[in-house]
């Protein structure tokens, strides 16, 4: 069995409720964070080697350390839950089944950044998940993990869900911020970067749902331990959306560095091609990236096994794998 750091409690009934989530160690990363300074939390994330799970793979700790901190200006954390890359449904899975994991990560991240307001920008098509998140946020307020002076720490945070309304481009972080300001989702010219002028022209960090959730195991186990998982500069575990002509479509958590072939054929993951046909092609990351023919998806051009890592595949490929069988292209 591969290591699980996000979905290890996936089979536990009621894990989407606060009670059950807390019984299984939920919110302990926030308790840990409050015993540290915010800079120490950023340092821990740097040590973990965590890279953005939204597509570009930028080191998260570094991104956080770029956040401008002018005196008297609010800072924001915005969670990118737009998930509009075709073939991708991992964030939906995480939010639907583990809403408190996202909320917990958001609190720890906001504390690290010194943000007192955090928004979850979710694609409008996911309205049923807005219900789920609103309920979970309500529970977190009631239990004292959100609001003023959280658990007596002196730190305060408000968290809100904000639905989009159907626009693929709003997954791009500056378009997302425009949209969150109630405008058309037209991307902004960079620089300035959101870290300096983001939401309402204030310093802002935009992170993907899964990136923020990964902060929870990082703080719980420590950045150094997290960095031991995975391969090279692709540390930790990663959620992959698998669909198309495979036996078991779904969301799987893999340890980075897993061979693509094992992912597609092993019983633990996709279980092979539907009706045992021959694999024709893999679309890594849905429809906005080039199709890889079967040979090139399992092996690199030099004949090495292709691994699921930022180095061996294009970044978006780490979001989704769509397999086509022999017949599909005829």
């Amino acid at each position: 069995m591969g290591k699980k750091l996000l979905l290890q409690n996936d089979k536990i009934p009621g894990i989407d409720t606060y009670e059950v989530y807390r019984q299984h160690g939920g919110y302990s990363s926030v308790e840990k964070a409050f015993k540290m300074t915010s800079d120490e939390v950023v340092e821990e994330v740097k040590k973990s080697g965590l890279r953005g799970r939204g597509g570009a793979g930028f080191p998260t700790g570094m991104k956080w350390s770029f956040l401008a901190k002018p005196e008297g200006v609010p800072r924001y954390l915005v969670c990118n839950a737009d998930e509009s890359e075709p073939g991708t449904f991992k964030d939906r899975y995480l939010m639907q089944r583990h809403p408190h994991l996202l909320i917990e990560g958001m609190i720890a991240a906001s504390y690290a950044l010194g943000a007192n307001t955090a928004y979850i920008y979710i694609r409008g098509e996911y309205f049923y998940i807005v219900n789920i998140l609103e309920k979970a946020i309500e529970e977190a307020y009631t239990a004292g993990w959100l609001g003023d002076n959280i658990q007596g720490s002196g730190y305060s945070l408000n968290m809100y869900v904000h639905p989009g309304a159907g626009a693929y481009i709003c997954g791009e972080e500056t378009a997302l911020l425009e949209s969150l300001e109630g405008k058309r989702g037209n991307p902004r010219i960079k620089p300035p970067f959101p870290a300096v002028k983001g939401l309402y022209a204030c310093p802002t960090v935009v992170n993907n749902v899964e990136t923020i959730a990964a902060v929870v195991p990082i703080l719980n186990m420590g950045g150094d331990e997290y960095a031991k998982i995975g391969i090279g500069k692709s540390t930790g575990t990663k959620l992959i959306s698998a669909s198309g002509h495979i036996k078991k479509p779904g969301v799987y958590e893999i340890e980075l560095g897993l061979p693509v072939e094992e992912f597609i054929y092993s019983e633990e993951y996709c279980g092979g091609i539907l009706n045992d046909k021959k694999l024709k092609a893999v679309v890594p990351g849905g429809s906005s990236v080039p199709i890889l023919p079967a040979e090139l998806s399992l092996k690199t051009p030099t004949g090495e096994p292709r691994l699921m890592s930022y180095e061996s595949l294009s970044e978006v490929a780490l979001l989704a794998v769509v397999c086509w069988d022999q017949a599909a292209l005829l």
């Binding site: 075709p86 694609r123 219900n131 058309r184 002509h245 769509v322």
Partner: protein, 178 residues
Amino acid sequence: MSEVKFNDETLAVVHNLMRRYPEGRHKSALLPILHLAQAEFGGWLSPATMDYVASILNIKPVEVYEVASFYSMYNLNPVGKCMLEVCRTSSCWLRGADDVIRHIEKRLEIKVGETTADGMFSLKAVECLGSCGTAPMMQVGKDFHENLTLEKVDELLTQFTNEDKHSRYCDANTYRKN
């Protein structure tokens, strides 16, 4: 045509939503409020509805039109009570989305983009809705109907016809109350 005005419960939610954003930044609430307006005023945003939303947010009507026309979930023309949104992107297409669309077109005697003569159904083809692992799928209001078969589609259409309800993405209960 009756006056465009949110009922009291929705209006309270609207004012709560506006408080989620900092002082002077309440225009941020435009998208969620337009969703509520579309749900409450017949499934589409008429000019009167958009003017009303502008007045609530104290912004120019043109600012609302500009935004409403940018996002695909807002309907700027009347639509059927029940909006069938079928995904036809890669994974759904590999798993038979075209058959689903053809089947609905035949049964309802409309094409993609059209509304049935009785005003009950509209059919829309959409891009990936994040349901690729349970393809093919269609969204109706906020509900995802997944792993569709033609039999399942027939059952759903019969059910929607019998229920005779508006499909909606959200309502006043979607958001927390405080």
